[in-house]
Structure formats: C-alpha cells, structure tokens
C-alpha cells in the first residue's frame, strides 16, 4: 500500500514536470501516468496482476483510439510522428490533440510499467519511471522546465525517503560513499554538459513551408516616396528597429526573401530575459509580420517563423490594416566588445551567406582594398561600413536595384553624370555593404525593416513610409547576427567603431578614389598589431579533466575512509574493534568466522611482530560490547594506534601506499546475526 502510494507520488511529480511542457490539459498527462500506477498497484491485491494490467492497458488503448478518432487523427500517425512533432512544436505546446496524445501515451506507458513493478517488490521502478518522465520533460523543454533543479531535488528526496523508509537495511551511512561520488561526478560533468547542452530539438527538422516572395527591398524607395503613410504603430518600452524580413540569397541581380517557415517557439533558449511589444498594422502589406529581433512567441496563432532569418510570417494570407498582435522577444543581445573579439565562421553551412555568383573583379578588388588594414572581422566590417557611408548620398529618388551593375554605378560612378551614381537609398547602401563584405569572406545578409518612427498618442510610436530602412548583418562565431548600418545619417557610429575608423583611415581612402589607390597601411600598423584579438579560449583540456576526476575520486575515497575512522573513533572501544577489522582486511588477515575477539587477537599477537596491543583492543571491545556500563574508548584507541603501526610495518611498502585509499574496508561485510533456527527435539531413533 505504502509502496504504491510512494510510486504514484514519484510518478506524479515526474508527470507534473512533463505536463508543464503543455499549455493546457495538463491534468490529462498527469492522470494518464498516475492512474495506471494506482490501478495496477492496488488492483493487483484483489485480482491477478496480469489481468489487471491487461484491463488497464486495454482501457488506455481504447481511450487513446477514441480520442484520436474524435479529433480526426490517425492513431498510427500520432504514435509514429508524435515525438518529432512535439520537438518541432512551439513551447509551451499548443492545445492540439495531436500534440497532447504523445505526451499522454508516454506517461501512460511509464505508469503501467511502474505499476507492474510496484506490484512485485521493486524499489527501483518508481524512481526510474519518475526520472524517465522528468528527462522527457527536460528534453522537450530544452532544460528550461526545471531551471533551478527544485523538482529534481524533490524527486531525489522522495526516492531516498522511499528507499530508506522501505528498506532499513539500506542505511544512510552505506549510501554516503555513493552519494559523495555521485555529487562529485555531477559537479564535474555538470558544467561540461551545460556548456554544450544536448537539445533534441536540433535533431528534428521541423515541418515547415518554403516561402519564396519578391524581396521588399525595392519597395523601400516607394515607401520613402510616400513618406507620410502610416505603415504601423507599436507600443514598447524601448525604441525598436522593427524588422520585416531578412534577405539571404543574392543572385547578382537581386536579393530574394526565401526561407523555411515553421511555427515559432521551436528552437530558442527559454532562459533568457524577454520583453513584449504590441504592434498594430497600418498600411503595411505583404506576408511578413514586423517584429523585434530574436522573437520567441507571437500572440497570433497562425504565425510562422524562419529560424535562419529570424523573420515572422503569416501562415495564410497577407497583412490587413488593423491587425494587432504582441511579440515576445529575447532582450540579451551581444556586446560590442564580444563582437570585436569574435571571428567569423567559414564552412559549408555559411556558404549561402558569402555567395556572390560571378562577382565582378572591380567589386572584389575594391572590398580587398578597403579592408586591407583591418585585422579582425569586426574591423573589416567597420571599415566597409565607414567607406560605404562616405561613398554616397542618401537620395529617396535614386533608381532602385541591387544588381552588380547598379552597385558599381553607385560606388564608382561620378556624381551627376549617371542617374544613381554616388546616390541611393538604404537598398543600395545595405546591398553594397553586403556584397563587399561577402567578397572579403564575411557571412552577410540584409534585413528590411523600419527605423523607430515618431512618437504617437498614448505612448505608441508610429512608423511611416519614410522610416522604411534596410541594413546588413554580419554573422560572428559564438555571437550570431550583428547589425551594421552603412546608410548615412541613419545612426551615429559607436566609440569603438570611431576608434577603429580613425585608426584605419588616418591616410584614408577617399570614397572617390580609384580602386587602385594605395592600401591604407602606414601609421596604424602597430596599433593594429596590438589589437589582434586574443587567441580563442583554449580547447577543453580533457587530460586535465581526467586528472581532475581521478583526483576527485581519490579525494572522496580518502574522505570516505577518514569519515569511517572518525565514526569508529566516536564509537569508542567497540569502534576500535571495527577499525581493527578494517586493518586486518588491509593486511590480508581477515579473521575466520566463529572466532571470539580474544582468540583473533591472540592469533595475531602470536604471528605479527609488535602486535601485542591487539589483546588490549580485544578485551576493551568485549568489555564495551558485553559489559554492563559504558566504556571509555581511549585505552582501546591508544592500543589501536600501536596496532596500526605494527600492521603498517608488517606489509610491504608498495601495499602501504594504498593504505588510506583502499576502498575495501568501505565494503567490509557487516553480517547481521542469523535468525534463530527452529529447534528440533527428536530425530530418528529413540534411545
């Protein structure tokens, strides 16, 4: 009875933790896990366990089937693809039967198993079931379900309480060495695991939709021409640069907005700080929802998210005037210092961000020239940003376009001769930056969005057509996408950027200069040397780790042995005898069974040199164990010290090394007294 309640409690806590992953219907998950434990555990007292189990499983299966049919789901499909769907689902999981049923099934199967084991004496099953549920919750929630570990601690406590309470033979003292080792391993493994935590969601390619739309980049000029049209308004604690869409693919003629859109909330770290922003759409059109960087959740239900570009899009249809929604986004962006020290990745997965199909040599050579003095990726980006900003004039009426030809005209044309030479909108500035940055190997994309806008009534901010903007972003290793803004007057460069600009451009390349001009080296050289970013943090030292683990094990062994001795010392003379038995084990002279202490002692004293004190230990221990009053342990322990000395002297030096770390005494069997046998009075023949 107690065991069933205990098992149900453990499974209940685990199931509750699992149920937190869902937004509603949590009771179903908990009930589906706890009920089988209780039903099987208690039912098996009245009926045969297989019958009860069969009934419970049958009822569960029927319930599962009915729920599937009622909600128009294919049961096989729910079982087969439930887990990948769950992993691809937003968090918390939305109230959909197809996503709820896999969780309930998991809980049910665990509950049935634990119930079966609880019937047959197992003290392991319930904790294992609870841990399975807890682990499931942690994997589904990417570790965010129990950030402080309280639930884990509660589970450990419950399990330990059950173990100690149900089985007094498992004394806390016997568990102590195991606990020390477990905590040590946890402390060691924990930080390593945390540094690169396993997130099963990364393994799943979420179901998504390929969205390919003409880029809104060309619209920027149009929006600017009708600058007073209210595109949208928003309420936020900060001035936000709302993003519309990020553009990745460049064909040489234009940028395209394409990506795999799926439901938001699938891959994100739930531990970061978040902020909400309320948006209300005005004249803005298109499928994309304007929102802040790093969106985590949207109040609309049919919103999809492209995790690569960070863009939000409506699943069906386009924006309508008056559409209102709230977006939750992560607050913690990277610091400029971190970005300045970071490198950019290179590799296959970054190829689409550095692709320049048949780029003209003029552009690539120009990019090389500008970034010649720059040592780090950040310096390259800053020099490009500065050079492009200086190279032209912002003109809302400039011709649209982002092809190589348009950019060559924009960068190298002579102002006034050709339309669009040295003049352009944010489209040209951002595109020029993106193309030149890609030419020097920086992974770059373009974001179309809006400037913070002007304050409106009631704390809102209104974004007009003239606020439409585009800016490039560069990907830095370990940081992510970091924005730059080459458009003149859009923003003022930060201190760090100014410092880099002043250093690199003391003999500055004038934007008007020909691409063949001398490289901007000279005076900045030395300083640049010094600004070489510190080498990346050393690779994790696995040998060091191994040594650490070994030392920790050694330390815990010594500690466990030491604690054992201290405990013996506290136990007085009787403890001295226990310590003596440990010593005898260490010198390989464990006494045979059925020998009283003085006999053991006499045998030792006769065979081991300088062992006479052992007789005192035996007498004192017997006196403490079988005498009427308490016996002070000091006599026994004084003798014990002499015995220990004699014992250490009696063994060769190479065995003496392991004296304090030998774990064998920790496991010395402490045989409990036998149960009395049934007396037999007469057997066979009578006298």
């Amino acid at each position: 009875m107690t065991r069933v309640v205990w098992a149900a409690l453990l499974v209940g806590v685990g199931a509750w933790q699992l149920s937190l992953t869902w937004s509603v219907d949590r009771e179903l998950i908990i009930a589906s896990a706890v009920l089988p434990v209780v039903l099987i555990g208690l039912g098996a007292r009245l009926l045969p366990a297989p019958a009860v189990t069969f009934t419970v499983v049958g009822l569960g299966a029927v319930g599962f089937y009915v729920m599937c049919v009622r909600n128009g789901l294919d049961p096989g499909d729910v079982l087969r693809r439930g887990v990948p769907r769950l992993l691809a689902a937003p968090r918390p999981v939305p109230p959909e039967p197809g996503l709820l049923l896999p969780g309930a099934t998991f809980g049910f199967v665990t509950g049935v198993w634990v119930g079966l084991r609880a019937v047959s004496s197992g003290l392991i099953a319930a904790p294992v079931g609870a841990v399975a549920l807890y682990t499931g919750a942690a994997l589904l929630g990417s570790g965010g379900t129990d950030p402080k570990g309280f639930v884990a601690a509660a589970l450990v406590f419950l399990a330990a309480a059950g173990w100690v309470g149900r089985n007094p033979a498992v004394s806390l003292r016997r568990l102590a060495p195991a606990t020390v080792a477990a905590v040590g391993v946890a402390l060691l493994i924990g930080p390593i695991a945390m540094a690169d935590a396993f997130d099963p969601r990364r393994l799943v390619e979420p179901e998504g939709r390929h969205l390919r739309q003409p880029s809104p980049l060309a619209k920027i000029a149009a929006w600017h021409r009708q600058g007073d049209v209210e595109l949208l308004r928003y309420t936020s604690g900060r001035d936000e640069r709302l993003r519309l869409v990020a553009l990745t693919n460049y064909t040489g003629a234009s940028w395209s907005a394409e990506g795999r859109y799926r439901r938001i909330g699938t891959v994100s770290d739930p531990r970061q700080r978040t902020a909400d922003i309320a948006v209300s759409i005005g004249a803005l059109e298109g499928p994309w929802l304007p929102g802040p960087a790093r969106p985590l959740a949207v109040s609309l239900s049919d919103v999809e998210f492209d995790s690569d570009s960070g863009s939000l899009a409506l699943r069906d249809g386009v924006l309508q005037p008056g559409l209102s929604y709230r977006v939750t986004s992560g607050l913690d962006g990277p610091t400029e210092e971190a970005v300045a020290a970071a490198d950019v990745p290179s590799g296959a997965e970054m190829r689409s961000y550095v692709e320049l199909p048949s780029a003209p040599a003029t552009l690539t050579a120009y990019a090389q020239t500008i970034t010649d003095g720059a040592k780090t990726a950040y310096e390259k980006a800053v020099s490009l940003e500065y050079s492009i900003r200086e190279s032209g004039r912002h003109d809302p009426d400039a011709p649209s376009g982002s092809s190589y030809a348009r950019l060559e005209t924009f960068l190298f044309g002579t102002a006034g001769t050709v339309a669009g030479a040295k003049e352009g909108t944010a489209e040209q500035f951002a595109s020029a930056f993106a193309v030149l940055a890609r030419a020097v190997g920086l992974p770059t994309r373009i974001v179309v969005g809006f400037a913070p806008g002007t304050p409106g009534d009631g704390g809102t901010r209104v974004v007009h057509g003239r606020d439409a903007h585009a800016w490039p972003e560069v990907y830095f290793s370990g940081i992510g996408w970091y924005p730059f803004d080459p458009t003149p007057a859009a923003s003022t460069p930060s201190e760090t950027r100014l410092e880099i600009i002043n250093r690199l451009f003391q003999q500055s390349i004038r934007p008007s200069a020909a691409p063949s001009s001398a490289p901007p080296m000279a005076a900045g050289g030395e300083q640049v040397e010094r600004r070489v970013p510190s080498p990346a943090t050393a690779a994790p030292g696995y040998p060091l780790l191994a040594v650490g683990i070994a030392l920790l094990l050694l330390g815990s062994l010594i500690l466990a042995r030491r604690l054992r001795t201290v405990r013996h010392r506290r136990a007085g003379a009787a403890g001295a005898w226990a310590e003596l038995l440990d010593v005898l084990l260490l010198i390989g002279r464990s006494p045979a069974r059925g020998q009283p202490a003085p006999v053991i002692a006499a045998g030792l004293a006769a065979t081991v040199p300088m062992m006479d004190a052992v007789l005192v230990v035996a007498d004192e221990a017997d006196r403490a164990a079988f005498g009427p009053g308490p016996v002070p342990g000091d006599v026994a322990w004084r003798a014990m010290r002499r015995v220990q000395h004699a014992a250490r002297t009696a063994i060769p030096w190479h065995r003496r090394i392991f004296w304090y770390i030998d774990p064998r005494p920790l496991f010395r069997s402490q045989r409990a007294g036998r149960l009395p046998r049934t007396p037999v009075h007469f057997k066979g023949e009578m006298p």
């Binding site: 405990r567 005898w577 226990a578 202490a597 079988f626 409990a672 007294g673 007469f682 057997k683 006298p687």
Partner: protein
C-alpha cells in the same frame, strides 16, 4: 510479556565483588596446587561447578588423582568431605543414610549417610546398580534426603564429584546417558605433563598430601558467592548467541538429543562463574568457547550411526561453535 517482567531482579555484581571472588578463587586454586599438580584448568572447571551450584563428573582411568582432587577441595573449603566407593552391592541407604532405632533413647533416629558432606566423592559411580545411582542423583538434584517422610537437608555448599571409569570393566552399570545431564560439568583429568609427572614421581614430593592443605575459606563464604554470582552481567546478544549454539547442537544431523533448556540454564550459570573467575564482571563470547565442551558435550546423545563413525560429542560442539557467528564487538 517481556523478558524483564519474568526475570527476578538480581543484585548486580560489580567489579568489587568480582575482585573478591577472583581472590577467593585464586586462593582455592593455589591451595589445591599443593596436592594436585599441573591441573589448574581442571581445578578451575571443578570450581566453576562448585560456585555454579552443580556437580562434576570426572571420567578417567584410575590413578590420575581424582580422589586427591576431591579430598583436597574439601580440605581447602574447610568443610566435610566423604567418599563413597560404589560397588555392585551398594544399597541406596548406604549412600543417603538410614533410620535406625536407638535402644537407649527408644526413639527412631536418622543416621546420615556419606552424602551429608560438603564434598562427596562418588568413586566409580558406574559400578553401582542403577537404583543406588539414582539415589545419589536425586540428592544431587534435591539437596535433601527424605527418610520416612522426613526431609534432611545436606550441607551447603554441596558438591558431588563423581568419577567414572571409561574402560568397560566387568560388572559395571553405565550411567544412563539421560542422567548425565544432572552433572554440570564433565571432564577428564588426563595424564600429567612431563615436568609435573616427574615432580610427582620424585621421592619426597608432597603430591597427594591432602592433610597439608589449609582451609582457605569457609562454607559460608562459598555459599555467599554461589548466591551472588547469578547477578553477573550477561549481555542480551550473548544470551542469544549461547542459545544459538544450543540450537545448533539440536539440529545437528549426528545428534539424537541436543542440549536441553536445563543444559542452557546450567551453561549460563557456569559462564557467569567462569567470567568472574577471570576477574570480569561480564561474560564475553570467548568464555562460551572455553566452557562449551565441558558443560554441553556430555549432555548430547549421538545417533548410533555417528557413534559407529567415530564421531564424538566434542566434535559436534566444536562444529556448532564454528558454525554460529560470534557476536562481534565491532559497531554495526
């Protein structure tokens, strides 16, 4: 009902009483050493029986000093010692005493037999008829002789040292094995060690000079300790251990009849005396090992098959001691 409520409250024997007893014990042992050489361990066993209120059966060939031991003990106790030589024609009344008519006083008077002594040496007890043996065994148990309806108490302390010849001589009546249980301790004297035997053989040696043994105590003092020693501390785990050994003898395949509860009671009393004789006011497992054979072995009845196989009761006891886990003084 707990064990405590069934147990009579005894005066706890402290270290002071034990020291006094040990001193008396040593005095007695030293006194006996004058006449009985090199048999200190046997003497100790006899003394255990004396102070435990029991009797001793010495099984040995003639001439090893059985009689000398008994007479010396009687002398050292300062009491009366009598000797009964058991013969086939010995009558029960020859042992216990008879009622006779006194012509002078014209009254019927009880004339006490040789059992009315502090130490009675029943020599070659197996030579007498069963009836006579029973009479003696009854007195050993009851400590009284009943003649014509009148109970006559034997003196206190009362110790019977019976000797039995193991060699199956003509005309002996083996003591019924079930009755051996009445003896608290059975032992053998054995031949002396080389040095002791040489000393005994040397002309002019005082061995056997019982008349030289001084009385080192009084019957009253002995009786005092006999009454006192049951109060010696006996740890509960040890009691369970002693019982386990008794159970082990009962379950042994070679044994037809194991140690009875009476045997266990006697064992516990002997252990208390033995511990006190070692100067300890508590009993330890080692005492159990020392006394198990002399106290328990003669009470076991082996099966005929194991007797034919040459098994001995002593071997059964040794095996029982080895099989039962000794309560370890170490903390658990």
């Amino acid at each position: 009902m707990t064990a405590a409520t069934q147990t009579q409250v005894l005066n706890v024997v402290g270290e002071r009483e034990v020291a006094a007893f040990r001193q008396l014990h040593t005095r007695l042992g030293d006194a006996l050493e004058i006449a009985v050489r090199g048999k200190r361990s046997i003497v100790d066993l006899v003394l255990v029986a004396l102070f435990a209120g029991g009797h001793v059966l010495i099984e040995d060939v003639p001439g090893t000093g059985k009689t000398t031991l008994a007479r010396s003990l009687a002398a050292a106790l300062g009491g009366v010692s009598r000797r009964v030589q058991f013969t086939p024609d010995l009558l029960p009344s020859d042992v216990t005493g008879t009622t006779v008519f006194d012509a002078r006083t014209s009254q019927v008077a009880f004339r006490p037999g040789p059992v009315f002594a502090n130490v009675v040496l029943a020599d070659e007890i197996n030579r007498a008829a069963a009836k006579t043996q029973s009479a003696l065994l009854e007195v050993m148990e009851e400590h009284t002789v009943t003649a014509d309806g009148v109970a006559h108490a034997v003196p206190d302390p009362f110790l019977v040292i019976a000797t039995q010849n193991p060699i199956d001589l003509e005309g002996t009546y083996r003591l019924p094995e079930a009755q051996l249980d009445r003896f608290m301790i059975r032992t053998t004297l054995g031949y002396p060690e080389l040095a002791d035997e040489l000393a005994v053989m040397r002309p002019g040696d005082r061995a056997g000079a019982v008349q030289e043994i001084p009385a080192v105590t009084t019957p009253a003092e002995v009786a005092h300790f006999v009454a006192l020693l049951p109060g010696l501390h006996f740890a509960e785990p040890l009691l369970a251990y002693v019982r386990e050994i008794g159970v082990a003898t009962r379950t042994d395949k070679r044994v037809r009849l194991g140690a009875s509860p009476r045997a266990m009671r006697a064992f516990v009393r002997c252990l208390q005396v033995y511990a006190a004789a070692q100067g300890r006011h508590y009993v330890v497992p080692n005492d159990v090992h020392r006394l198990a054979e002399p106290v328990l072995a003669h009470r076991l009845l082996l099966t005929r098959r194991s007797l034919l196989d040459g098994e001995t009761a002593g071997g059964v006891i040794t095996d029982a001691l080895a099989a039962v886990d000794v309560p370890s003084p170490a903390v658990r």
